[in-house]
Symmetry: C2
Subunit: 213 residues, 2 copies
DNA sequence: CCGCAAAGTGGACACTGTCAACACCGGAAG
DNA sequence: CTTCCGGTGTTGACAGTGTCCACTTTGCGG
């Protein structure tokens, strides 16, 4: 395939994306600069143009990588839940992925901001434009936050712990609440909210959406 | 005062901000470029440096202007509610400002994205850093979305339509839900959601938060 | 009437994304 | 084994940006 075999550098595309992720961690999307990542990879600028159409394309790849990190944290936190009661466990898992979302935003604001740059499409194959994709951003199933949230909600209705007639649109409600708080905290007017008030906000958002679903 | 008297241009600072708002409308924050706004004002670049410390400062002024527009729409929609029952009216007004928030984001995505650029401080005086400000972003009271939302929630508890013990943090819950949906729709993975699904999402978010508060 | 500070100008610098033309190098064809 | 050729990386250039500096203009107060 196109980029898997070794070439001059070893595996430049991977090195560029990894460098971009590094830069994004501290500087956000604005820090993933074409010439900077090229420099960091020990390669001259314009080399990146053999692997990415343009700066936006490179940024999209970095963004997808950040989105994967978010998804992985959510899955890990969900898997760490261990409760005897199935229903209680499912509820706890939903809560856990919500907290994971917010925690990720607070712990890695650069990655979080980068993840939502220009509707990141995952690093994989070209975006199939057929109407057959299963969720926003065309994330691979089970990978992206949207798919993870969907699966958790499905589990809740399967257990009868969530009325099926209220299921349509539930992802939007849960996702919006958690994403909105994260965005307001990381790059919005709620940035730098003192710790106590921050805890209040997190609990208010999570409990409100849990009650309202 | 510093910039109120007439000078060469007439009132350059105002012209620059207005031009920035124009550019932001179609191009978002990235379009409010120092040299471009200067050009549009019929003035050479560097002239802006007599009125703004740097590009970020100009962008903050433009962002504050956009935030005001959002607040004005919310107030207008709230004032348009006319119901005989006080409680029903208060509830309807809360719903109205939420819809106004989302509508603004959808109708003016450029302004919406610009409004939340670097924790906009309003155009007014320098940011007082004492701990005495009343809300995030130090918006003038009654002006910014946060203050408007707060007032509406206060009205609800005043009417006894909302348990006072659940009041702390309620702004965060409501604001996060509405802001999160707007952000996901405007520049997130939900961008370009088809109309029917969009309506589902809006209703799900608003009804869930209304139920959960 | 004069002078001085505020307001605006022109030029320069470093940096960015992007394009075009060139240099390399390794594997496939002969 | 030689030869070519396409993928890979390089050099150089251009337009555009934010910012600093020195300079000029302008209008008001003494």
């Amino acid at each position: 395939m196109a980029t898997s075999r070794a070439y001059h550098h070893g595996n430049l595309r991977e090195a560029l994306v990894a460098g971009g992720v590094d830069l994004a961690r501290t500087g956000g999307p604005a820090a993933v600069v074409l010439r900077a990542v090229s420099r960091r990879a020990g390669v001259s600028h314009n080399a990146a143009y053999r692997h990415f159409a343009n700066h936006e394309d490179l940024l999209a790849a970095v963004a997808a990588r950040c989105m994967e990190k978010l998804g992985r944290l959510m899955l890990a936190r969900s898997a760490a839940v261990d409760l005897p009661d199935e229903v209680a466990a499912a509820r706890a898992r939903l809560d856990a992925i919500g907290r994971a979302y917010i925690d990720f935003a607070l712990a890695e604001p650069g990655w979080f901001r980068t993840a939502f740059c220009g509707t990141a499409t995952p690093e994989g194959e070209a975006r199939h434009d057929g109407p057959s994709h299963d969720g926003p951003g065309c994330e691979g199933p089970g990978e992206g936050p949207y798919a993870i949230l969907s699966a958790h909600l499905d589990e809740l209705v399967r257990l009868g712990a969530f009325p099926a007639d209220r299921r349509p649109g539930a992802e939007y409600a849960a996702w919006s609440a958690v994403h909105g708080l994260s965005d307001l905290l990381v790059e919005g007017p709620l940035r730098g909210l003192p710790g106590a008030e921050l805890r209040t906000a997190v609990e208010a958002v999570l409990s409100t959406v849990a009650r309202g679903l």
